[in-house]
């Protein structure tokens, strides 16, 4: 009551031109929440210690949460009635559900950093495992061979999948040919191909049937099977965002279809396409399963993706983590950390580029304009 009164007084005293601040959370809600949190904490303490045969922190949190829901629901129902109590319950459940999705991410990042930074030394990026013996320290040797392998494999996969994917998206959204409808279904289906099946396919088709060896290139092919539908789908979404009015404007100027696509649609969606590609790379870079079957794995540097077994960062981690030696496990964690940093960096770059509008004039474009005398 006192709280409500004070609020009302504040409203009457407010000056006329002050903006009304709309609050979705009222102070009484906060009071109820804090109260229920404390009450349920106490209750769960009691229950947990005496009645429930639970152990471990996880069970404790679960019990506390359930009790919190119950206590706060009763409190709100007493104060504001049944309808508000349901609303309150839904709000709490939705909030906690959302945090269930976010909290693991934070835990994962922190855990991998904590495990991996010990053995993270500059030479991890410069050395391979050539001189690493069973008794070597975790800081000896490195994962350069795996990093180079990953970069080459993902690079070749991008060279295959990105042009193909964007052209396919153009077919779906610009050419709109007769195949567009079934093609969209098949692209969706292809994006669901399990990564191990992609590896199995390349092993069956490229290695067994065509008689090739396990190489970086074979890995790239497997990765591009996974990469292609991802690029196609995201690129199609991006192209769909280009207003139809721009296409019509281009055609109305006498533009051909090809030039409409290449000079209007693609440039307008450039930042979105770049984002789509980078996000795709970020996903493909961590793929492990198809590489187990295709690249072979190696402990020493192989600069040639066309011949001989190669390593890749995820495969490196996957193999080393199952070694008995602590030093190898530590190296695996370092590899995982590097992999995660790679993904995070790519992700941040993608976000930064994705935020740009189509009228962003970058350095390259400025230079091109100046050369043509248009700036």
């Amino acid at each position: 009551m006192a709280l409500a009164l004070r609020r009302r007084r504040n409203v009457t005293e407010a000056v006329a031109d002050e903006k009304i601040r709309i609050r979705s959370v009222e102070s009484i809600d906060v009071t109820v929440m804090i109260g229920s949190a404390i009450a349920s904490f106490a209750l769960s303490q009691l229950l947990y210690e005496t009645f429930l045969p639970l152990s471990g922190a996880l069970g404790y949190v679960v019990v506390w949460y359930v009790l919190f829901l119950a206590v706060s629901w009763i409190a709100v129902r007493e104060l504001r009635g049944n309808v508000r109590a349901k609303d309150h319950l839904a709000r709490v459940v939705v909030w906690s559900g959302a945090s269930m999705a976010i909290v693991p991410l934070i835990l994962i990042v922190l855990y991998v950093v904590g495990k991996g930074y010990h053995a993270l030394r500059p030479q991890f990026f410069a050395e391979d495992q050539r001189y690493v013996g069973a008794l070597s320290d975790a800081t000896e040797g490195g994962g350069a061979h795996a990093i180079i392998g990953t970069i080459q494999q993902v690079g070749i996969a991008s060279l295959i999948a990105v042009p193909l994917g964007i052209t396919t998206a153009v077919y779906l959204n610009e050419v709109k040919g007769r195949l567009a409808k079934p093609l969209r279904t098949v692209v969706d289906a292809m994006s669901a191909v399990p990564s191990i099946v992609a590896g199995l396919f390349i092993y069956a088709a490229w290695i067994l049937a065509l008689g090739n060896q396990q190489t970086g290139l074979a890995g790239s092919l497997a990765l591009s099977v996974l990469f292609l539908p991802t690029v196609t789908r995201t690129a199609e979404v991006v192209l769909r965002l280009v207003p139809g009015g721009l296409r019509e404007a281009s055609l109305a100027l006498g533009g051909t279809e090809w030039r409409t696509t290449s000079r209007v649609v693609l440039p307008t969606s450039r930042s979105g396409l770049v984002t789509a590609v980078i996000l795709g790379v970020a996903r493909v870079i961590g793929e492990t399963a198809p590489l187990i079957l295709t690249v072979g794995g190696a402990f020493i540097m192989n600069w040639n993706p066309l011949a001989g077994k190669q390593d890749s960062l995820p495969f490196f981690v996957f193999r080393l983590i199952r070694f008995p030696q602590e030093s190898q496990i530590a190296r695996a964690w370092t590899g995982a950390l590097v992999l995660m940093i790679l993904v995070l960096v790519l992700f941040v770059i993608a976000r930064a580029i994705g935020g740009r509008g189509p009228d962003h004039i970058g350095r390259l474009k400025k230079w091109r304009l100046q050369r043509k005398g248009l700036a």
């Binding site: 721009l246 404007a249 109305a252 509008g357 700036a375």
Partner: protein
């Protein structure tokens, strides 16, 4: 307003595409002969016959949903881009049918330009690039000096040169709404069209920009035939030489009710429905 005079002649861009005959330059006459339009099975326009004489401004007026814009879009083959849209009848430019393959569709659209309601400069291009975008898009080649002249003359004709001559390198969308619309007009003019279709070009603009665009229309109307859809009676009266009044009865396709010189349609309409409409009794 001497600064708006054309100082440089428009380079005859059309001449660089050798195949074009002589009557592909200068204002052209456009004739619609018994045009009908459908969206799927729904007929939205019927029996439209209209002569749009060279160098004249023809205004299409009428209430919303009577098929004016649809008709306008049939005139440069934009109608067929809508899935399920079909049409009948014929449309002739200088006596040549535009639908039956005598002229490639890209040439049809280049010769019959279009400016739509909401300004839509290409976002990924600068002001200058937007002006000459039509050349690139339709594959015309010009020398660098021709191009620079074209940028200046088209922007001048659209009454925009003085405002943007120092901002040619800015993105097209950095301009104000009215400026963007004039940029779109300049963009259309750069491919030297013979006819310019305008679909309510001022409806999204403020009064000052509207006046500026009306001025532009009267300045360019000598060298290009203009067909303009307008909801604004005063505007139709101010800018047009002839007027066509479209009307659709409920659940029936739109038709032309009356078509006469602008003066007549506003002062001495033959049909009572025209009189009611131009006097603001409905629509």
């Amino acid at each position: 307003m001497t600064d708006l005079q054309i100082t440089t002649p428009i380079p005859t861009v059309a001449s660089s595409t050798a195949v074009l005959a002589d009557d592909t330059r200068g204002a052209a006459g456009l004739t619609a002969n018994n045009v009908a339009c459908w969206f799927g099975t729904k007929k939205v326009l019927e029996g439209v016959c209209l002569d749009m004489a060279p160098g004249q401004v023809t205004a299409l007026i009428g209430p919303s949903g009577c098929g004016k814009s649809t008709f306008l879009r049939t005139l440069n083959r934009m109608h067929e881009l809508v899935p399920g849209a079909t049409l009948g009848g014929e449309i002739l430019i200088n006596g040549v049918d535009i639908y039956r393959g005598a002229i490639p569709v890209t040439d049809v659209r280049r010769r019959i330009g279009m400016v739509v309601q909401k300004p839509n400069p290409f976002p990924a291009m600068t002001v200058a690039e937007n002006v000459v975008s039509g050349l690139k898009l339709s594959g015309m080649k010009v020398t660098k000096s021709e191009r620079d002249d074209l940028i200046e003359s088209c922007l001048s004709k659209a009454g925009l040169w003085n405002e943007v001559k120092n901002r040619l390198g800015d993105p097209g969308r950095a301009l104000s709404g009215g400026q963007q619309q004039r940029l779109c007009i300049a963009r259309s003019l750069a491919v030297s069209p013979q006819v310019l279709l305008m679909d309510e070009p001022c409806s999204a603009l403020d009064p000052t920009s509207t006046r500026r665009i009306e001025q532009t229309i009267s300045e360019i109307s000598e060298s290009v035939t203009i067909v303009i859809v307008s909801h604004n009676m005063q505007q139709a009266q101010r800018v047009s030489d002839r007027c066509a009044f479209f009307l659709a009865a409920e659940n029936e396709p739109g038709r032309i009710i009356e078509e006469s010189p602008t003066k007549d349609i506003f002062t001495n309409p033959r049909d009572s429905r025209t009189e009611d409409y131009v006097n603001g009794r409905f629509g």
